[in-house]
């Protein structure tokens, strides 16, 4: 009896849910039909800007995404047409680039060093088309390819100094996704920043995860496995680190998760994000976000597209530096009060010194422009 009652009840509730769901569907589909022939056509320009991602895709929370968003912004601001193709594997690069040329793109932006060869091949074969490539520079410049590269070590240097000046345990850490120059340049700058702090203040803040002299350190092996990033971060915490800078795209979320757990357990830990201002792009980790080493790729893409549309294309590499705000240290947001005033003023001064060239930040991975 009980059983059957429950069955009836269950069935009843199921039916109720179904009715609710159905009525919701019906209600949402009850709008009025628009008048026929009201198609809007914006006064779009003939200019087409295109972008080909590497295998990370446009949702990689890293350079593909930033570049794509930059281009999307020009679609609105300049009224140009935008074509985008995601590459799923390295094999897609050449067909995708060919397709972009065939589709009549005026400027094609390619993202990452892996597309270097394919971009070069298409640029040479189509001298009347323009290309721009993110995070890669050619030894011999190509007349219709503009490299967009970043001296990230400058901003990472500030982050290293900030971490060293803010740490409570005297140990900070970093790790990378894959050991490639665009990753290690962050780690080099960070390491130098920590070292500079130690020299200036006579302290001995330890850095885990990267040895600049040996050019070796901790890597997760890819830009996908967040759990590996989480595990690495836990190891760093166990070794006494309290500030971690993951240079691994989405894997940084693994670090954020580990730090959030540590914070919930009562530890005072902080995270330094990379590429974009993590306070805005990774809000889950707001409470522990000390700062971010930003590469302003969207802005660079906008600039290049705007210049090209105005007929002012050139193949001089765009090098993002602290001087032109191409790389920056993000604001401290919620953790502003935790950064000692002295460190803040030091950072201002260091930034000025780097911009003026008084302080040289060097990395084996720095752009040779």
């Amino acid at each position: 009896m009980k059983k059957s009652l429950r069955a009836v009840f269950k069935r009843g509730s199921m039916a109720g849910v179904a009715t609710l769901g159905a009525s919701a569907l019906v209600l949402t589909a009850c709008g009025a039909a628009p008048e026929a022939g009201s198609t809007s056509s914006a006064g779009a320009s003939d200019y087409t800007g295109c972008i080909v991602s590497d295998s990370g895709g446009f949702d990689d929370q890293s350079f593909n995404q930033s570049s794509y968003e930059g281009l999307k912004k020009t679609e609105k601001d300049l009224g140009i047409k935008v074509n985008q193709i995601e590459s799923k594997t390295n094999n897609d690069f050449e067909p995708n680039l060919r397709a972009m040329v065939t589709a009549g793109c005026n400027l094609t932006i390619t993202v990452g060093f892996l597309l270097g060869d394919a971009t070069k091949a298409q640029a040479t074969a189509n001298p009347d088309k323009h290309f721009a490539i993110i995070d890669f520079g050619y030894d011999k410049p190509i007349s219709n390819v503009k490299p967009i590269i970043y001296d990230t070590a400058q901003a990472a240097f500030l982050a290293g100094y900030l971490a060293a000046g803010t740490t409570k345990t005297g140990t900070v850490a970093t790790f990378g996704g894959i050991k490639i120059p665009t990753v290690t340049i962050f780690m080099d700058g960070y390491a130098d920043g920590v070292k500079y702090y130690n020299q200036q203040k006579g302290k001995n803040v330890k850095l885990l995860g990267w040895n600049k002299d040996a050019q070796d350190g901790s890597f997760t092996g890819d830009f996908e496995k967040q759990d590996v990033g989480k595990q690495l971060t836990k190891n760093f915490l166990d070794q006494g680190a309290d500030i971690v800078m993951p240079v691994a795209g989405p894997v940084g979320k693994g670090a954020g998760a580990a730090l959030n757990e540590a914070k919930a357990a009562g530890k005072d830990v902080k995270l330094i994000w990379v590429d974009s201002d993590g306070y805005l792009t990774a809000p889950d980790y707001k409470d522990i976000m000390l700062s971010s080493v930003m590469k302003q790729m969207g802005e660079a893409v906008e600039t290049v597209v705007t210049e090209d549309k105005e007929g002012k294309f050139n193949n001089t590499p765009y090098v993002g530096t602290l001087a032109n705000d191409g790389v920056q240290l993000a604001p401290f947001h919620d953790l502003d009060s935790q950064v000692p005033a002295e460190v803040k003023s030091d950072l201002e001064k260091i930034k000025k010194d780097i911009v003026d060239g008084k302080l040289k930040v060097e990395s084996a991975a720095s752009p040779k422009a």
Partner: protein, 462 residues
């Protein structure tokens, strides 16, 4: 067993069912016999195995073996219908992501035709783009450009075909070769190294690149076969692990100066010498290279090997039942090693097609996902050489067309991957496909009892 819609099917033959019924009284093994004949011949699609059908039953070592076997050798009509069904569902998915559809759905009840038209438009637009990107583009400038998409399809199909043949061949010998990915990588490493580190005259250089690749793949595959034959280690686990070993070894190598470009520290190898790459057989406007011709040759070779040679006969015998094959005097260990080596060599050809055909450099993405797509291709091709060839072309077309789909209609490439995955799903579930198309044979009441009991003994796979 219900994979065969043919009325000649053993199960639909009442006499067979009676025999099964009667036989099952005293000998449960005999019950499977008739069913196994059907499996063995795949409804007439394959030649009957040389091994006595009595030796093949649901009790083969590894009960899942028969399920896999059934999946691999299902009838052709199921493959076609699976593709069709996947395309239909893919079309609905495309429509569901379409802006116009979303807008019109808002006033579905006010004017339902709008939404239906939008759904139809979204799906057809995407598939037309897919076709134009993979077979024939009428908007091309001249006939050469109009057929360029088809050439692109053939280019992308090349590594899929050879790697697919490797998987299919191993499967016919009863081995589930998941290791094509690793075999492609090892072949790619060796072939690329020969291509950029050695500087040899034209002709000889390319030949050496090809040999290096095939040998590399054969060694990697053969090693897995050796472990299986000598130690009994399961080939699925061994080959999966070998994939990882190959990938991480490649990543390690790409971080050493020997595999990097002078003066650079990016993990990308130097470009192969011009003497080491496949010539483009139809001129430089297409990417199509000599590797495709070799893929055709490989298909013929595998067909000959399987159907006309003693070695192939032994492979199939071992695949049907290793114990019976051994009793019949076939050296099972030798067959296992040999078939894995040949499978590896075929996958190795894909590696060569990558480094010497399209990419011309070695990166850690050299194998892309070809090693795993190859499994799908072999599945879709029902493990026959020409079936695999056709399936390779189909998947090549999907990949080639996906580019146009993205540009023309903004359909994400993921949709194409979803369609591919759906195809596999449906091929793995033939009764589902036939149920959707109303092809399942009508069940008769007396038959049901026998069938359900039989289902129990064959692991419920029916």
């Amino acid at each position: 067993m219900p994979d065969q819609p043919s009325p000649k099917h053993a199960k639909d033959d009442p006499r067979v069912e009676d025999t099964q019924h009667a036989a099952s009284q005293d000998s449960p093994a005999a019950e499977d016999t008739a069913a196994v004949v059907a499996v063995d011949t795949a409804g007439g699609a394959m030649q009957p195995s040389a091994v006595p059908a009595t030796a093949q039953s649901g009790q083969l070592p590894g009960g899942s073996g028969t399920v896999l076997r059934r999946i691999f050798t299902g009838s052709g009509i199921v493959s076609v219908l699976a593709v069709l069904l996947a395309l239909i569902i893919g079309g609905l998915l495309i429509a569901s992501t379409d802006k116009q559809v979303a807008t019109t759905a808002g006033y579905f009840f006010a004017r339902p035709t709008d939404m239906l038209a939008a759904v139809w438009n979204a799906a057809t637009r995407s598939y037309i783009a897919l076709f134009q990107g993979s077979v024939f583009n009428p908007r091309g400038n001249g006939l050469a450009a109009q057929f360029a998409p088809f050439m692109e399809t053939l280019t992308i199909a090349t590594p899929l075909i050879t790697a697919g043949l490797g998987v299919a061949l191993a499967f016919r010998a009863g081995l589930f070769n998941i290791g094509a990915q690793g075999q492609i990588i090892v072949a790619g490493i060796l072939a690329a190294w020969v291509g950029f580190a050695l500087h040899l005259p034209f002709g000889l250089h390319l030949l050496l690149v090809l040999v290096a690749g095939i040998v590399g793949g054969a060694l990697w595959g053969g090693l897995a076969g050796l472990l299986k034959a000598r130690t009994g280690a399961h080939e699925v686990i061994v080959t999966i692990m070998f994939n990882y070993i190959a990938l991480y070894f490649l990543r390690y190598l790409l971080n050493t100066p020997a595999f990097q470009r002078p003066g650079e520290s990016n993990p990308i190898s130097p470009i192969l010498d011009p003497s080491a790459v496949y010539p483009q057989i139809l001129g430089s406007q297409y990417r199509l290279h000599l590797g495709f011709v070799l893929a055709i040759a490989a298909t013929v070779l595998v067909w000959w090997l399987l159907n006309r040679s003693t070695v192939g006969f032994e492979f199939r015998a071992v695949g049907a039942n290793p114990k019976a094959a051994q009793t019949a005097g076939i050296n099972v260990s030798r067959s296992t090693i040999l078939v894995m080596a040949i499978a590896g060599g075929l996958a190795g050809m894909s590696g060569v097609a990558q480094v010497a055909g399209t990419e011309k450099v070695l990166t850690d993405g050299v194998a892309a996902t070809y090693g795993f797509d190859a499994i799908t291709v072999a599945l879709l091709g029902r493990s026959t050489p020409w079936g695999t060839f056709a399936a390779g072309l189909l998947f090549g077309a999907f990949r080639a067309g996906a580019v146009q789909m993205q540009i023309q209609t903004g359909t994400p490439i993921d949709i194409v991957l979803v369609v591919q995955s759906l195809i596999v799903l449906f091929i793995a579930a033939p009764p589902l496909v036939r149920a959707v198309f109303g092809l399942n044979p009508r069940r008769r009441k007396p038959a049901r009892a026998a069938r359900s009991r039989q289902a129990a003994t064959t692991g419920g796979a029916a």
